[in-house]
Amino acid sequence: MESNYRHSATSTSVAIEAPQKSASFQAVWTIVRKLAQLSVSLLALLSVCFVIMHIVPGDPFQEEQAVPQEVLDNLRHKYGLDRSIFSQYVSYLGRVLHGDLGTSMRYPSESVVKIIGNSFPVSIHLGLQALVIAVIFGISIGSWSAYRSNRSFDVTMTVGSTFGVSIPSFVIAATIQLLFSLYWPLFPVARWDSFSHTVLPSIALSIGPACAIMRIMRASMLDTLDKEWVMMARMKGVPEWRVLLVHVIPNALLPVLHYMGPITANLLTGSFVIERVFCIPGLGQWFVLGVMSRDYPLIAGLTLFYSIVLYLVHTVIDIITIGFNKRLSQNECAR
């Protein structure tokens, strides 16, 4: 039983490197390693952003009418464009570390930080709502269809979830919008005001991740139901609900937790199109606008912000995974 558990833990989550070391030491060590990795990745990302902003041809001060050379020189000097690339890089890093992501080229009145501050709450509201829907439906339907595998419910749900992950999110969004607000006006068509405005976008955003969670949950639950400890519990006469809730589902949840990072990334990129379809003033809209109009400071700032958010999510997931493992291993010892 012990070896079985170890195997599943190493293959699904943070690797347990040295079994002889204490669990808390491992946890701290993993977090430190993750933080180091995070800072290296962020530095690399910053450098990529810097390169993007400098590799592109053109100059922010190229105007249609001729500008006197002195004015141009002054402008260049003011923005530090006359210094060496390296010193520009250092000062860019310094500015970013102080939380200054620059100003949008297309909308000079807005700083990137201000744009993020205004639109991120909308995006996180939408994303969290979709995540909650996806997790609830994905886990409950997935575990039920694994428990009753190969019955009609399971077959329907398996085919349905395969179809659900196959449909691009913009198709889902457009279809839902067409059906439930244009042909059958249950909900407002677009925009972002009251709760009823949030219903359709959240559902549209959550269908793909819900189906993905459902598939993962079903697979890992089927795997767990075959384990010896489940048979053991049943043999001991543990009631069926307790077998499921205590012995099966917590173990089956680990792979789902492992996939939460990619799922969050999926939600994030999905929000680009959902916000476009439903005209929601979120961060995704700004990102797409920035890419369309090649607004480099905006692109760089938003990419950086997105990455930090995702890294935070990853770190939280890792910590939760470690916590899960610890609790499970304590259970293991107690038994």
Binding site: L45, V56, P168, F170, V171, T175, L268
Partner: protein, 270 residues
């Protein structure tokens, strides 16, 4: 069963693509303002768009582009990933961890975000999009293949071969490769829908394939503002892209059940 259904849907879609001119005599870019936005009829089976271009011809062109991008991107991914993954898998710990850290730097960012960044640098259009997707996609493949090689290296048959004095190249080609080629193909198949998704996604947002070439994503994006009045412009491309991805997904699911019953490989969709 899954594979049979998937293969038959995919096969019929490919046949329809190849025989496209039988169904629609129109050029995908031929503009005919006289019958713009006309509903499906006998002359235009899927109707026309706002410039009177035949939607069937455009959908088929979009499908051809989606299919070729998906297949090309994943084959090149597989090739580069095999190279990198095998070298890393066979190297000693230091080289291996260096190669994998290098790959992880990019991999820890969301795929679509990095593809968008790469396409900002490379410009818009079909080839830059493909290059951008390959730049990121091979890393995933390399990770999968390195894992497969590492697992194979731990197996007893490799130890036996090693003990018999088989040299590394022969060890790889005659002992390891035949054992990992199945899961490799599964990983490759799983990355096809991923590539198709990404292309459609970027084209939908207007940063992928550029007009006048039709892509399923851009067709849907163009149909969106007028979908209340001309729903056929949304319905046909949307159905076809969903069917396309669904069939490939079924096929790769079936392949995975065949080769990898423990489901260790990544979910391709995420």
């Amino acid at each position: 069963m899954k594979m049979i259904i998937g293969l038959s849907i995919l096969g019929s879609l490919i046949v329809i693509c190849l025989l496209g001119s039988l169904f629609s005599p129109y050029e995908p870019t031929a503009i005919c303002l006289a019958d713009k936005n006309s509903p499906p009829s006998f002359s235009h089976w899927f109707g026309t768009d706002e410039l009177g271009r035949d939607l069937l011809a455009r959908t088929l062109q979009g499908m051809r582009i989606s299919l070729s991008i998906g297949v090309l991107a994943s084959i090149i991914d597989l090739f580069l990933g095999t190279l990198w993954g095998t070298v890393a898998g066979f190297s000693n710990h230091k080289v291996d961890s260096f190669m994998m850290r290098l790959a992880e730097l990019v991999y820890s960012l969301p795929y679509v975000l990095v593809v968008i960044l790469a396409s900002v640098i490379l410009g818009k259009g079909l080839v830059p999009l493909l290059v951008a997707m390959i730049c990121i996609g091979w890393i995933h493949m390399a990770r999968v293949i390195r894992l497969l090689v590492r697992e194979a290296l731990c197996a007893e048959y490799v130890l036996a071969a090693h003990a018999l004095g088989v040299r590394t190249p022969r060890l790889f080609f005659t002992h390891i490769f035949p054992n990992i080629v199945g899961p490799m193909l599964v990983a490759c198949m799983l990355s096809v829908p991923h590539a198709i998704f990404t292309e459609a996604f970027l084209s939908f947002l207007g940063i992928g394939i550029q007009p006048p070439i039709a892509s399923l994503g851009s067709l849907i994006g163009d149909a969106l503002p007028a979908m209340r009045f001309f729903p056929w412009r949304l319905i046909f491309p949307a159905t076809f892209i969903s069917l396309l991805i669904f069939s490939i997904m079924l096929l790769s699911d079936g392949l995975r059940d065949l080769y990898d019953p423990k489901k260790q490989l990544n979910e391709g969709v995420l």
